[in-house]
Amino acid sequence: MAQSAPAPAEDDGPARRVRRAGRSGARREDETEELGRRAVELSRFYAGKVETVPKVPVRSLRDFALWYTPGVAEVSRTIRADPDASFGLTGRWNTIAIVTDGSRVLGLGDIGPEAALPVMEGKALLFKWLGGVDAVPLPIRTRSPDEFIATVERIGPAFGGVNLEDIASPKCFGILEELQRRLPIPVWHDDQLGTAAATIAGLLNALTLTHRNVRETRVVLLGAGAANIATARLLLALGQDPRRLTLVDQRGVLHADRPDLDELELHNPWKFRLALQTNGGGRSGDLSAALDGADVLLAASTPDPNTVRAEHVRRMAPDPVVFALANPVPEIWPDAARAAGAAVVATGRSDFPNQVNNSLIFPAVFRGILDARARAIPDEVVLAAARELARHAADRGLSATHLLPTMEEAEVFPHVAAAAADAAVAKGLARQKLTHDEYLERARLRMGRSARLVRALRRSRLTPTMPRAGTVRHGGSE
């Protein structure tokens, strides 16, 4: 959901909306094409985005008697006696695997493991830059969820956590659940948990702003993919009344009498379960029927500005909350939603106010749970991070255009990290129990270190200067 976006768009009226949408759409296409060309060129020049860098001094070859054999044998013996000692005696505590089967990469679909690699490298770079986390990109060649699970389980001993990335729904649900059950380290699927946690953080503030509470709010979720299924689960964990929740997918309102339910029970039991639990009013039909009198619309569906229309928003309760999170184009343009009465609007884009961005969540959450050396990441930890993020925006004063911190407010992230670590301690899942202030301090140091490292590598020319566009003939950094 992290998106670069064109220059900020001014808030013009609905009459000019169509013209602007058309123009920005075309401009955006040109820009995307140009960025793509440049990315290929730079990928050829740098030949990869992350590399392994030693973190110990090597004064001469003799030092390898410590870092390697014979000295290292004693380190191994210590870990053999206590496998958890691997978190303190190796880099495991700060290393995660970014695993994918390449089955749903960005908007590109099922492109396979090799083609997924540059995306996983980019994610690894984000993890390092924002969270100070050493992330290893690991695309896995299999279509079978069972094989995928078995592979990740077997590589678990090298890692302090696992980030699942770009895996198609619904198989991502079963893979996440099963790996969380099997592995003694946190397993996270960003397309589910990162997006859902950022959504929940924005929603909590939107509810405060419109004088609502979670329990009594009627929420409509448009789209029943990875993000919204996870959002629904987190909402229920927050105390949302399932009967006041309605999911809508391409076939309309999800309800227990729908003829495709038998099929859903087989192929998507997570959605099936929600079909049985939710939609207390027994609504059926399309989005309009679902939105009648609803307080909140959380759309994570089709990137088309006509997916949600003004008349849909007008059917909602007074002062409704509209999150149109599809990327790159929201389900309804924010000014159109506001013109139709929306009190608060959020999108997935950085060029509008209130960007719901999973990058606000995942680097900080991993920073926190790695510093706690956590055994797992239950929903309580995810919600603690979401609440902390929401609190920081609230501390600076909530408004219809200020629901969430922006990515520029980097000082917020260590607090989110510490909140996640605290929650892991509270759940009895921390291998390393520290105080809140200690977690906060560690997170600040670790997160700040990456920027210093990248700067130092650039200044020393170990990272070559970025070549001008059109000048790359061959790799310069191999």
């Binding site: 339910l261 029970e265 087989l266 049985l276």
Partner: protein
Amino acid sequence: MPSNDASAAAAAARSEPPSMPIHLRPAQPADIPTLVPLLVRLKRLNEEFDPLLRVRDDAEGQAREVLKASIADPKAVVLAAEGVGADKDKVVGLVLAVIRERPFYAPAVEGVILEIYLLPLYRRRGVGEFLLRETTAALKAKGAGVVIAEFPAQNEIASRFYAKRGFRPIIVRQARSL
């Protein structure tokens, strides 16, 4: 709390626990029009598992005939599950089972559960377990010494459901089209 456990156990021992959202009774010929769609829905679900389970165009008529014959057959068990409260008189589930002779094996009589279908809203509330228990009792009353469940080989939900309740595969049926 032990007292709650005890009362829960006592409730489970009764034929229809008060918490059960259905009322189970033998099906009557008058139920046939409401049972037909349930049976067809079940067959349509089976289509998911194998192309050799493709449902015929005349499935509804066939369902009507099968139900009519089974309800009249003393060697069959046909049960209708009705909703309770506001859903009273609404048929929400169906069981169809038959008694068969086993000329070579002991026990000599088997009760075969051919169909169990429950509308989605009534699932995951212990109703399936209750249907199985009641059906098994009815088959036993008709002389069955062994209870067998038939379902598509690829239906993992059914596999898990029966395996959890002590069932194991004993006969395999394999097919190829001609």
